[in-house]
Symmetry: C2
Subunit: 247 residues, 2 copies
């Protein structure tokens, strides 16, 4: 039972509150049973698990927690386990999201949840919020452990989502694939990124608000691609569909 | 120039940090030029405006602010101005969102922004986060001032959004209207509310995440209704469309 705040494991958890240390050590902290369970269910092996009242004094665990209601369990994991997603992504079509300098951890986490819900991969550029930071992890509701996390790239089928002026999303030809590319909260996408995409699209907003936030826009785009696939599946001849499922 | 922290206006701003006082006095605080400008542009007249360096010492304004970067301007407004939206709503079809005990202010604010972007009204039940609280206001990006805010009700055309098991949203008949009803973050919608709706729908999630958060689900529903209307408009005979625009 850990009873000293100077314990090395507690010191490690405190350090991992900063992105600099997470990047340096390749480790991060998942707080709470829901997140730790989600990680394990997705095959992530914790480096350390601290359980209040079992191997650490509850008040000490509470002190190193970032949560208002301290968790019963804290797990330390390797960020490198996230790259196992790369194998999945190689096999999958270029569907999902590529985020360019999306700085808010809540947005990165929410979009990980959206990708996990609709299917696909999540690509993050430099300058994005750390997906393994506490806020992003919480907003992802554990999806960070299930989504293939990749480097920012613009594979064939990349669609730049712009706030204004491009083809309406619902009128866009999504046959090539749908890797939706979203820009930063303040600046959007720079022209050099937009130019490298195969298509540009806008979510038409008939109301008065100028824009959606990036998490809402990305979720709507994933929904639209998913809806189209669902319609295609339904309208394909059933025999053909059966054949391609059981070759 | 206000130079004492005991000044009555500063005391009022501090009080309005709590919902109890906002409800009691029927007043709330908008922090920052963007929000105060959005309010004025939407026709809301401030009861008080405090401007750092003009009528209040900057350090005192910073002290009463809830923001990490203190604003230059703080405005105090009457919540009752929001009810002017009711007139707009009476004339509009039953489109928009009805939120049942959505407790997170970020979700309420984000959904106000979505309603403002796609058009419609926002209905809030008891137990919803205060739309005039600081976090909801910020998440709304000023949309709270433009969206017709109404009491929770289930007008004809109400569609309960469930996380699982109902008609896919994209297959739903939205002809009656589309007042999407969303439940609380933890519990969803209680059966007695679902029963009073005209239809139930689910956003199909082919991936692994169990659900979207309520703000994302509401935004997707508004997008779907808006997309259908856009398609209908395009496919109507142009002459007829022109006639109804210029009677």
């Amino acid at each position: 039972m850990i009873t000293s705040p100077e314990n090395a494991k507690l010191k490690l958890v405190r350090k991992l509150g900063s992105r600099r240390w997470r990047d340096k050590l390749g480790l991060f902290v998942a707080e709470g049973e829901d997140l730790v369970d989600a990680a394990r269910a997705a095959g992530w092996e914790p480096v350390e698990v601290l359980v209040a009242g079992e191997n650490v004094a509850p008040e000490l665990l509470a002190q190193v927690s970032t949560l208002a209601h301290p968790p019963r369990v804290i797990g330390v994991f390797r960020t490198s386990e996230g790259t196992t997603g790369a194998a999945v992504a190689d096999a999958a079509p270029a569907d999902g999201l590529a985020l360019w300098r999306v700085a808010d951890p809540g947005n990165v986490g929410t979009l990980a949840r959206a990708v996990d819900a609709f299917g696909g991969t999540l690509r993050l550029s430099d300058g994005c919020a750390d997906p393994f930071g506490p806020k992003a992890l919480r907003a992802s509701m554990g999806s960070i452990f299930r989504v293939p996390l990749l480097e920012f790239e613009l594979p064939p089928g990349s669609v730049a989502l712009l706030a204004h002026g491009a083809t309406p999303l619902h009128g866009l030809d999504l046959e090539v694939g749908s890797n939706f590319v979203l820009g930063s909260e303040r600046e959007g996408l720079p022209p050099e990124i937009v130019e490298r995409c195969d298509a540009v699209a806008t979510i038409p907003l008939p109301g008065r608000a100028e824009s959606l936030n990036v998490a809402m826009a990305g979720t709507v785009a994933l929904y639209e691609a998913s809806r189209r696939r669902a319609i295609q599946t339904v309208s394909s001849p059933p025999v053909k569909a059966r054949r391609s499922n059981h070759p």
